[in-house]
């Protein structure tokens, strides 16, 4: 009985909507766009968030990354026409971290700078990373072919290197890189291993973080080449000399671009960060360093994601609201257009609630139809965004249910008033209506 009525009401609703196909479709468009924007925005937001999380996770949640940062120049220094500035992390800092901080598992000092590399006749710009054999312990870089740097290489300052897959593509094309020699400055380095692509120490998605040095910034998209730190010291000198970006006159001298401290347990990260900061403050007059804690970034990214979701959600909700008002508008027009039909039905025995159900079901059919099309379209948009905009997107089941639920709610909320109006019209007045 109930099912029969439901079927009958749905049939009637579809019939009436079908009579005004164009109008129904245009009305449903509001819901279609509303629902699809909810899904698409949530998918883009979720995708961006997961992408950021993954990038930060690559930095290592047990790591504390200390990077050399150019100190903000004071006016007096500018006036003096300095030709040489010395700043940044030092080997002494690395030693102090090792000796003074209790929970340290590994310390990796790095030299990073961009340089030209040559193989046969081909030259590309690369990022030289002077590091230690235990570098893989603090990063997710994996050796794909051959081996990573060894203790012997360090000890004998060998002219060897490990290249990452990006560099292999850039420089070697179809040659097997292992055993080949490539030239940097005037020296040759024999390739002993190939690693996965280096992780950038910058997280592009996080606005608060700035690139520490020109070197790492420039190196972000370059192929990486790992050389023993001792070899780098030997061949490039104890420090990196570079022209300052701001005024070509000034030479800069940097010992270490980066020190990465890994603790045993995630719980020790924040305390260790404090100790690192205290130590640095004691020995550095200027703030020529920057401390990056991936764990904190991760938390910030989560907060950011939440705000992002709320903002996107509100925008989408407003568009749904507009769609809902459009539906209400059309339903009110429909009701007044069908005043006579309502009068006839009332004269033939329809109760008020029969009329309410009739018009409410029409609105519901319209919004659910719009909701379903919106879900289809909304699932398609993220796919296109990923395909053409190469942006990660993730459609979650909960966003689909949310969108569908919202469209149903919109149908009920915005359908109730027109249906109520229809049901409360005076039967005689309605019958007289032209």
């Amino acid at each position: 009985m109930f099912l029969f009525r439901l079927k009958r009401i749905l049939k009637l609703g579809i019939k009436s909507l079908w009579m005004h196909r164009l109008r129904s479709t245009l009305t449903a468009l509001g819901i279609i766009f509303g629902v699809s924007s909810v899904i698409a925005m949530l998918a883009i937001g979720e995708g961006a968030s997961r992408d950021a999380q993954a990038k930060i996770a690559q930095l290592g949640s047990q790591n504390i990354i200390i990077k050399t940062a150019k100190p903000t120049e004071d006016q007096s220094a500018l006036g003096q026409q300095q030709t040489l500035t010395e700043y940044g992390l030092t080997y002494a800092d690395a030693d102090r971290f090792r000796d003074a901080i209790p929970d340290v598992q590994v310390i990796v000092p790095n030299r990073r700078f961009p340089h030209q590399a040559q193989y046969r006749t081909r030259r590309v710009k690369v990022e030289v990373i002077g590091t230690v054999p235990w570098y893989p312990e603090i990063s997710n870089v994996q050796v794909k072919l051959g081996r990573f740097l060894g203790d012997i290489d360090m000890q004998y300052k060998e002219g060897i290197c490990v290249v990452d897959e990006k560099l292999v593509n850039d420089l070697f094309a179809f040659d097997d890189p292992i055993g080949q020699s490539l030239k940097i400055a005037s020296d040759y380095y024999r390739v002993v291993g190939v690693s996965t692509e280096k992780t950038s120490t910058t997280t592009s998605s996080n606005t608060e973080e700035k690139d520490a040095t020109g070197a790492t910034k420039a190196g972000a998209n370059l192929g990486g080449i790992y050389i023993p730190l001792t070899t780098v010291k030997n061949r490039f000198g104890e420090t990196t000399m570079q022209m300052s970006n701001s005024s070509g006159r000034t030479l800069e001298r940097i010992e270490l671009q980066e020190i990465i401290v890994k603790v045993f347990d995630i719980d020790q990260v924040l305390d260790t960060r404090k100790s690192v900061e205290t130590l640095l403050k004691r020995y550095h007059k200027k703030t020529d360093y920057e401390i990056v804690v991936p764990l904190e970034l991760m938390r910030q990214a989560k907060d950011f994601q939440r705000i992002f979701t709320i903002v996107l959600g509100s925008i989408a909700a407003i568009s749904l609201l507009v769609g809902g008002i459009g539906i209400m508008n059309i339903m009110l027009a429909t009701v007044s257009e069908r005043t006579r039909e309502i009068g006839i039905r009332r004269a033939l025995g329809a109760k008020k609630r029969d009329i309410i159900f009739q018009f409410l079901s029409e609105t519901l059919i319209l919004t659910l139809f719009g909701g379903i099309l919106g879900i289809v379209l909304g699932s398609l948009i993220p796919y296109l965004v990923t395909y053409y905009g190469s942006m990660p997107t993730v459609i979650t089941g909960s966003s689909l249910t949310l969108a569908f639920g919202i469209s149903a709610a919109v149908g009920i909320i915005f359908g109730l008033y027109p249906a109520y109006r229809a049901a409360n019209m005076d039967p005689i007045e309605s019958l007289r209506h032209e």
Partner: protein, 243 residues
Amino acid sequence: MIMQKSQKIAGFKENMTILKMEKLCKNYYLGSVELRVLREINLTITSGEYVAIMGPSGSGKSTLLNMIGCLDRPTSGDYQLGGQSVSELNDDQLSMIRGTRIGFIFQSFNLISQLNVIENIQVPMYYQGFTEHESAEKALELAEMVGLGHRVEHRPSELSGGQQQRVAIARALANDPLIILADEPTGNLDSTSGSEILDILNRLHEQGKTLIAVTHDEGIAAGAERVIRLFDGCIDKEEYNKR
């Protein structure tokens, strides 16, 4: 169900009173102006009667008919339908009475334009909870009875006025009502279609249905057993036609 009970009342107890109005008044208010459309109407109708209501335009015929059909409530006075006082009923109960005891036939047919013949006839049954199958079967029967068995799939716009009015009659019969109310049923029709409709009404009367028809048509009045003449909201004259 009420429907079955009403059938019994209509079928077995000939000449019992099914409708009784006492001092029934209806006022409309246009702003502060009081419009007394019906004034102290006293009316009794027994089952199986064929009553014509006549009178000049604006004399309150339609208002009286709507009152009988429970589409409207009286301002004062008493109205008993089938032994039940209508003024005490709520909106749902009035709907129920309209759906089960009253069959309406209008001057302008009032079919639902998006529904076909069968579906139009099904509408009153739908609100009484008939299944699709039951109501479709009965609707087809009724369509055949009014001579439209071959037009069941047609929309109202594809039918002539006379045919539309026949659909409306079939629809009025759908729930086996106690009373059939017709408000100028031939008013929009040419004389040929009009007399077809009259024939059907006469046939219904012969079958024992109670009929009340508002009309300007002396032909209908002549076929009726009783003619009530309204003037300015009062019953001016009541005549019984001799057979």
